[in-house]
Subunit: 118 residues, 4 copies
């Protein structure tokens, strides 16, 4: 019979998921341009690192993808969506380490657990 | 030696976490009053249920807590924060069922895995 | 010499702008599908109508545009952006009526004051 | 008979309002602490300055108010709300300059047009 209480590994993965959902839905829609990409990435990292059990957040806002998007239209900024960012999040929960990331996969920003270590 | 790949139970918990972070950071800050609480709760449920592996979302926006908050000031609406809502989320990932919830605990909106079942 | 204090008409237009920025940046990024479009539109209207001097908000989430977007990919939901919604906002500030709207124009969700009446 | 079309001054005020609503509802709810306040303020300024006709945005996240809030509880971060920030926005629309600001007034974050100049 499997236990219905979460293990520490499972709770650590739950915590990793919270950070991804928070980061994405807090900042999606933010006006962004090649010139403001760095300050946004820095703020996203520092904001989510405030959350419990969050060891490190690495956000890469791809200025080249922003430039490509803007080359086709009259505007000089767009809205942040998953297609412009890679994210890596590192959780430390009770000695369990979780690395999860977000990457564009077949046109969608997929969030996955990369590894769980004790 | 423990495996570093996530189990299905761990991935199911990760998915539950994503939904909580998404729900909270998408809707926190929304102008809300006793009269608009129901429509907001309904929209929050339907929005997050769109996400993958999300079986059901139950959002309770407490009109009594809104009324109490508003009784002390001149405004007739406030901004949505965790102190006004209870949330239950039910995940079904590859036959693993996760129930997680958000409840106010000592003044903070804590998100926890309630149970994991196969 | 022009006065530097805002007139009531100008303040009414400022209030209209606040409502548009609020609506757009609160709800952009929300997971949405043809099935959840109605509940989201209703919640957006009720939420923003809470704000001061806001007489009426009319949000039309275009289910046909959502269906067209989703026809091309593997997912059955997307994120709310301006290309899926028309918005009309009606302000009443000190007897000044402002009607403003958001419409897709050459690929961009433009927000404009339609009319100001006393 | 007053004209129902907006004047340039009125449109400039509408644009100022859009920026305030955008800034507030994009960033309200962001996890923030004294240590992350500066990076968040910088990102808010750069993000909103991307928007059309937006000359300058000045955001002051009050670290002292954050420290005071956090002194009473067990957490070392909170969520961004109006009570922690002052905002000044400067619009230049067709030669019309609008300065608007957000300040806490009797417990509420009020947004006002400070001056309109040609």
């Amino acid at each position: 019979m499997s236990d219905t209480r979460p293990t520490d590994r499972e709770t650590a993965c739950f915590e990793a998921g919270i950070k991804f959902g928070s980061l994405y839905h807090q900042f999606a829609g933010t006006p962004v341009s090649p010139g403001s990409a760095d300050s946004l990435a820095t703020a996203m990292e520092a904001a989510i690192e405030n959350q419990p059990h969050c060891d490190e957040v690495v956000v890469d806002v791809h200025e080249d993808r922003l430039r490509e998007e803007l080359a086709d239209g009259p505007a000089d900024y767009t809205e942040l969506t998953g297609k412009f960012v890679d994210v890596d999040i590192y959780i430390d929960y009770e000695g369990i380490f979780v690395h999860a990331h977000m990457r564009m996969t077949e046109g969608y920003p997929l969030m996955d657990v990369v590894e769980v270590r004790e």
